[in-house]
Amino acid sequence: MHFLTSFAAESALVPSRVQMAFTLAYHVILVPLGVAFPAYTLLMEGIGIYKKDPVAIRIARRWSVVMAVQFAVGAVTGTILSFEFGILWPRLMGRFGAALGMGFAIEGLAFFLEAIFIGIYLYGWTRLRPRTHFMLGLALPPAGVLGTISVLAANSFMNTPRGITLGSSGQVVSVDVLGALFTPALAYEFWHFLIATYIAAGFLVASIYAVAWLRGRRDHYQRLAFAIPFTIAAILTPAEIIVGDLSARALVADQPAKFAAMEVTWKTRSHNPEVIGGLLNDSGQVNFGISIPSFDSILIGLSPDSVAPGLTSVAANARPTIAEANLTHLAFDAMVGLGSAGVALTVWYFLVLLFRRRLPQSRWFYRAASLAGVGSYAAVETGWVTTEVGRQPWIVYNLMRVSDAVTGASGAFVWSMLSVLIVVYATMAVIAITLLMKLAGRWHREDAGQAPTAPEEGAPYGPRSEIVSARRPRRAKQGMSWIFQSLITAVVAIFGLGVLIVLVIALSFLGLGAVARRSIRGLRRSSSS
């Protein structure tokens, strides 16, 4: 009884953090496919149209269904997240909603657009001319990018809050819209994450066809579906390492405590070793792990004399705890390790491509490739752990603590909500996976010679299958007139142009140049201090 009462009176801080971590980790799984998969599907469709290849069209059509299924699950988990901001962190939104919320408002718009255009894309397979259909689909990748920018704008605000004026009691009195949206961290977070989604989606899709190769399927269909996503992901992987390196360096200036946690550096010093693995203990020593002398300093400022910030440079109550620092460090190492493995795989792939002028034939290559999907997802997750745990104990860096933002609800309430959510999420996962397996089985049988069906029929966002009832038979109408189709194409072209202009403006704010500038500034600061 005593246990129960103390349980009920417990603060909601721990369960709220666990719940947020759980639901976000789940949502992050769905994000890469949501953002990047439409681009791969469109590329495949474009190849199909351009080369008049029915196989490519068939692949694109099937991918569009997978896209819709996972977008439906993502819509649900996204809705849950938006409620959790209110249920778990009401004071965060109350105090910073005016600034933090703007990114989410734009994301609401992007999400809306994406939902509608996925619907149009699925409907359009049988109702539009191929070119019109392709043009309409072109709205999807920019919508995904818009969503990515806006959500990361909110996250960057939490990491590097700017553009707000605080009143005497800490409330936000005025907001500079552009300043609060385009905070310093957005420049690197955006590029790092956007490229990550394209890599993860590409490797994941390719890994499925790598497994098919291992099982003996080696036709045009398999080659196409493997090579296109794999090649793009492979090209992007080295670029991601470079952007990641710039991001980490920018952290030296922006969030020294996070950087120190990532490298488990206790005291600010030059000639700082790079520790791989290893755990920090309470007295500031690192146990286990491999230490490369001075390498961290070299990475920061290209010279062993560069100064690396240590955890103790920040007051004990304003930096991650030892456990949090260790988690940040291990997650960071895992991400970098997985990224390096990705680069190795990429080099292997391009060497074979370059010297043999064909796709790799080695079983070991396809074994590695079939792990690349899971591996890149693990890298996305660990990268997200790095940035979130490394910011602790702040929810808005240096302005608001996580413990000041948490709900007044009892711990018991949040724990029970969490357990219900776990059940719901597990059910969703099981059902979605069963569904995809079923689809895969159906497509497999079709390829083995059965009559094909329209894959998108009955999918979420897809056209409705015909109702089974005593309907009056109606005459099937002809396809839309070409005038109407051209009209739609024109409208979408104008829309696409508009989005493109907005994106170009946004991207010029976020140019890679800005990332470079920031990291140089970090470099100067570390060498001058």
Binding site: A75, G86, P90, M93, A105, F112, I116, R127
Partner: protein, 328 residues
């Protein structure tokens, strides 16, 4: 500044009502178990729009009125947790039922779907009722949370919402049944629409009494203030719709059902304006700084200019799909 805030409010409110109406439409559909095929068919294009509207409404609320958002969620989180549960179960299970083709699993999926459709409108409206009762304190709860959540007003608002949901859902399904040429279903849903009308009148009366007892200022605002025309519209038109269904007159009934439910919400909104939390927090006090409001207006404008036409296009495709068979 005030003007901008009011504009933002009316837009956010409009979205909110939109979400409400979609929700009602979908939720009511779930009650009728036997006509599952028709419901499935009728709802397919709208169910996902639900979530999107709702997310948009929440996002606009926390950005435009952060303090309101904080106050409401701090006091009423249990209601929102249950509403959320209903919402996600409904969305997920509708999709899965839609895709699943084995009869063995259809039954449990439908049961969960139906139950969750009751949860969402009840708890959302209960939250509105709790706000209207004036029990939500600015910033955080000043009375035990359960007291703020459970009051005659919150419960009766929830019941009204369920009845109104059933009412408008049945009304629309009559229309769909006619469109798809299913005469048996027309009668089936007509009867249900009449029953729902009676239920709506009964719980509506109870709710009005609850409002009168608990928050007489809101009561007078509803009946004599700016909300009066809308309140009267609801009271007068509800029996009219019921009558139309009873006599099988298939004209205007859908528009009128929308008017009934829409004016019900507007009557409440106007009765407590300019307060967001009755008698404590006004629109002007809760509004976000100017810059944010401007951005919200831009976003709202984009929704109107870009999203609505494309939504129209999608609905157009869908209607075509219902008419002609795909020619592939």
């Amino acid at each position: 500044m005030l003007l901008l805030t009011i504009t933002a409010y009316s837009v956010a409110g409009g979205v909110d009502y939109g979400a409400g109406i979609w929700d009602l439409l979908a939720g009511g559909g779930a009650r009728a178990d036997r006509a599952r095929a028709l419901i499935d068919h009728a709802m397919a294009p709208v169910w996902e729009a639900n979530n999107v509207w709702l997310v948009l409404a929440i996002v606009l609320c926390w950005t435009g009125f952060p303090l309101l958002f904080q106050s409401v969620f701090s006091s009423l989180y249990p209601l929102f947790a249950f509403a959320l549960l209903g919402l996600i179960l409904r969305g997920a299970f509708f999709a899965f039922r839609h895709l699943d083709d084995s009869p063995r699993t259809q039954r449990p999926l439908s049961v969960v779907f139906g139950l969750s459709s009751l949860l969402a409108p009840f708890f959302f409206a209960a939250a509105l009722g709790a706000i209207a009762s004036g029990q939500v304190a600015v910033g955080g709860p000043n009375i035990p949370v359960w007291q703020a959540c459970i009051s005659p007003m919150s419960i009766s608002f929830g019941l009204v919402s369920v009845a109104a949901t059933a009412f408008i859902g049945a009304s629309f399904l009559v229309g769909d049944a006619r469109r798809f040429g299913m005469p048996d279903m027309v009668d089936y849903f007509r009867r249900r629409a009449v029953i729902a009308t009676v239920a709506l009148i009964v719980v509506g009366t109870i709710a009005l009494i609850a409002v009168g007892l608990e928050n007489s200022r809101l009561f007078t605002g509803m009946l004599t203030g700016p909300g009066a025309p809308f309140a009267i519209a609801t009271v007068a038109l509800t029996p009219v719709v019921g009558f139309l269904h009873l006599r099988g007159i298939f004209r205007w009934f859908r528009v009128l059902s929308v008017v009934v439910v829409g004016s019900l919400v507007i009557a409440w909104g106007l009765a407590q304006s300019p307060y967001l939390l009755p008698w404590q927090l006004t629109i002007a006090q809760a509004g976000a700084p100017l810059g944010t409001e401007v951005l919200l207006l831009v976003v709202t404008f984009c929704v109107l200019v870009v999203v609505l036409p494309s939504l129209g296009l999608l609905v157009y495709f869908d209607q075509r799909g219902a008419l002609g068979t795909p020619e592939a």
